[in-house]
């Protein structure tokens, strides 16, 4: 009910303090069932006057949502002045409610952030006000914090930044959820912020990606998944904020193959998206500047267990001192999460081998895999081999449905054997053709190298001549060939190659039967095998 007043006053568009809003405020204050007292009524008027002054101020009236932090901070500062006069606590709370209500709109999650930063804002709460505003209370648990907000110089920046996070996360969320989610990062002490930043700084690759990632998130929220690591025990209560729909990994650190740098948004119990959409994979930022391998996946608090979660590889913590800090925090975060198998996995992962010596390149291994240099090299080699196998799978026609190295290799071997046999067969065919020389002459009629009559060489010199032609001067000779040969005729021949009609089965059979006819002493089995392979090759002819 109270929400409506807030929303109707034009909050979604901007924080405009229209005169109409003042009337709304007035009605609001009247509707809040505050203890009617003269001082309150006077406070209302005071508030209205203050609001009118604010309305007149261009900064406020022109504040777009993008300038949230500054506009709000100004507002709150002025309200704080009102407060310092000591009389309009409830009005302040009302304003807070107003602002908090404003946060219900999709992109205004940042509005609630100023209200939720606990450490610096210490306003005593008017209990009555809190009671009267249960709806708003969820979004504004910490009403008293208002006045000190303005005192925080970097507050607006932080608010903006976290609004970026918020925007990315909370597209189309309900306002309540959004506000709750925004609440989460701030629930913890400022140490969390500092820790976060500390962590960011500890992994240089993250640094570059930290907030630009957030910006990117705005654009690619549906595709990217940002996860921020939960740092404090208290954050067990946070709902899972799985940011993106897609299950695609975002690879922020592009330097390493397969590495992904991500931050984990603290989990909560609020499923912002449907479980089917949310990706419960949590990954830890891994890559350091020099690390050769890969991000690992840690699954933290799998409230929504997807098959993905089970497939995800939890981190095996290897690192230096900084890594140990992360380890501890992960352990905290994990131990505090009492949800699902993931915790057990996590615990196992964290209890895995100790950190390697610090002067080595620190690499995060995947779960269940060792980290010594041999196994790493082995892994790289295996990946190469699997790449090549995929290539081969594309080349060999019948390997699409076959999976597994052994079967693939069998297929490849069969295919190579069949190709070689085909070559043999075709050479035999050529050998049996009578009119070879004549047609060759026709083709290469203008060949200055070769006399039109074939030379009656015995076998050996022929081989040697051929050898010298082809082996001694392989490439240099060929350009000479090309200049001297009748390029027209041979080119036609060559270009005609793709234009040859694909051999239909009748042609094949005729060819094979010709082979039969010419070579009656050949094995029929051989030819039938040929035929089968030739038939299978029909689709592959150009």
């Amino acid at each position: 009910m109270d929400k409506d007043y807030f929303l109707n006053s034009g909050i979604p568009s901007a924080l405009h303090f229209d005169p109409s809003s003042l009337t709304n405020w007035h009605s609001l204050s009247s509707n809040q069932e505050l203890n009617s007292s003269p001082e309150q009524s006077s406070d209302c008027f005071l508030f209205e006057s203050a609001m009118s002054s604010m309305v007149s101020s261009p900064a406020v009236s022109n504040s777009a949502i993008s300038n949230d932090g500054f506009g709000i901070s100004e507002l709150i500062g002025k309200l704080g002045n009102i407060y310092s006069s000591g009389e309009s606590r409830h009005l302040l709370a009302a304003t807070a409610a107003y602002i908090g209500g404003g946060s219900r709109s999709p992109n205004t999650s940042c509005y609630s952030t100023p209200l939720n930063s606990p450490p610096k804002l210490h306003l005593p709460i008017d209990h009555q006000v809190n009671d009267k505003m249960p709806n708003l209370g969820n979004s504004i648990p910490i009403n008293p914090n208002l006045p000190a907000v303005s005192a925080d110089p970097g507050f607006a920046e932080r608010a903006a930044k976290f609004s970026c996070f918020g925007n990315g996360s909370f597209n189309g969320r309900t306002s309540q959820l959004g506000s709750n989610n925004i609440k989460l990062p701030y629930r913890s002490s400022p140490s969390m912020n500092s820790v976060k930043f500390h962590r960011v700084s500890s992994s240089p690759s993250l640094k570059a990606n930290g907030f630009p990632m957030g910006a990117q998130q705005n654009q690619n929220s549906t595709q990217n998944q940002i996860e921020m690591r939960s740092t404090n025990v208290s954050e067990t209560k946070f709902g899972k904020i799985s940011v993106s729909n897609a299950s695609d990994r975002t690879e922020y650190c592009g330097s390493n193959e397969g590495s992904s740098v991500s931050e984990q948004i603290p989990n909560g119990e609020i499923g912002l998206k449907t479980p089917s959409e949310s990706n419960s994979r949590k990954r830890k930022a891994v890559s350091r500047g020099k690390s050769s391998v890969n991000a690992t996946n840690t699954t933290v608090a799998g409230g929504e267990e997807n098959p993905n979660a089970k497939r995800s590889k939890s981190a095996e913590v290897n690192g230096s001192v900084n890594g140990s800090v992360k380890t501890d925090e992960e352990v905290k975060g994990v131990s505090s999460n009492g949800e699902g198998d993931e915790d057990q996995k996590q615990a196992k992962a964290n209890s895995k081998p100790p950190e390697p010596p610090k002067d080595y390149i620190h690499v995060r291994a995947r779960r269940g895999q060792a980290t010594d240099s041999h196994s790493l090299a082995e892994r790289v080699r295996r990946e190469k081999i699997s790449e090549r196998m995929k290539l081969l799978q594309d080349l060999v026609p019948c390997c699409n449905k076959v999976t597994g190295k052994a079967l693939m290799l069998d297929e490849i071997i069969n295919y190579v054997q069949s190709l070689q046999r085909q070559v043999e067969f075709l050479s035999m065919k050529l050998a049996s053709v009578n009119t070879l020389d004549v047609k060759m002459d026709n083709l290469l009629s203008k060949d200055a190298f070769q006399p039109k009559t074939s030379l009656p060489h015995p076998l050996h010199p022929l081989d040697s001549s051929k050898a010298s032609a082809f082996f001694g001067h392989q490439i240099p000779e060929i350009p000479q060939l090309q200049t001297n040969l009748s390029t027209v005729s041979v080119d036609e021949f060559c270009q005609g190659l793709p234009q040859f009609p694909t051999l239909c089965e009748d042609d094949l059979q005729s060819i094979v039967q010709m082979g039969f006819g010419h070579n009656p002493n050949r094995d029929t089995g051989f030819h039938s095998q040929k035929l089968s392979w030739l038939k299978s090759d029909i689709p592959h002819e150009n």
């Binding site: 081999i385 071997i413 065919k429 049996s432 074939s454 081989d463 090309q482 060559c494 051999l503």
Partner: protein, 149 residues
Amino acid sequence: MKQSSIKTRFTYGFLRTLKRLPKTRAKSSSFSPEEISKRCRIIKLATDASMASAVGPRRAWSRALIRRVRSQRRQRQRQWLVMRRTRRGERKKGGKEVGGGGQTDSLRKLVPGGETMELCTLLGETAHYIKCLTTQVQVMRNIVDLFSN
């Protein structure tokens, strides 16, 4: 290398080689099995050699194939005893294989020069070899088609 260029080079070389073949002396009686088998061997050698030369020395298998053809040629020129020794030596060298299971052994035998490669390079060479074999088969089939019509 583009397939077309390999194809072109192979076609050129192969046709030249075929042209150099000895004519069938007697048109009527050119189908004695020995002669045909001889010619078949020659033609097979020619096609292998021309394909290997078309590919060039960039690929391990083409180099190995050229080496094999040359050695076969030399075998015929030199004394048989000497050739047997070198053949044994080559086989011994071939015995030192690197990695792989049972199937990879047979693959190594199929791909020229594959006996001393590691599995990784073997697979790459196999891929290129398959590609070139398919072009070879295509060209030869077309030639046969042309000549038999």
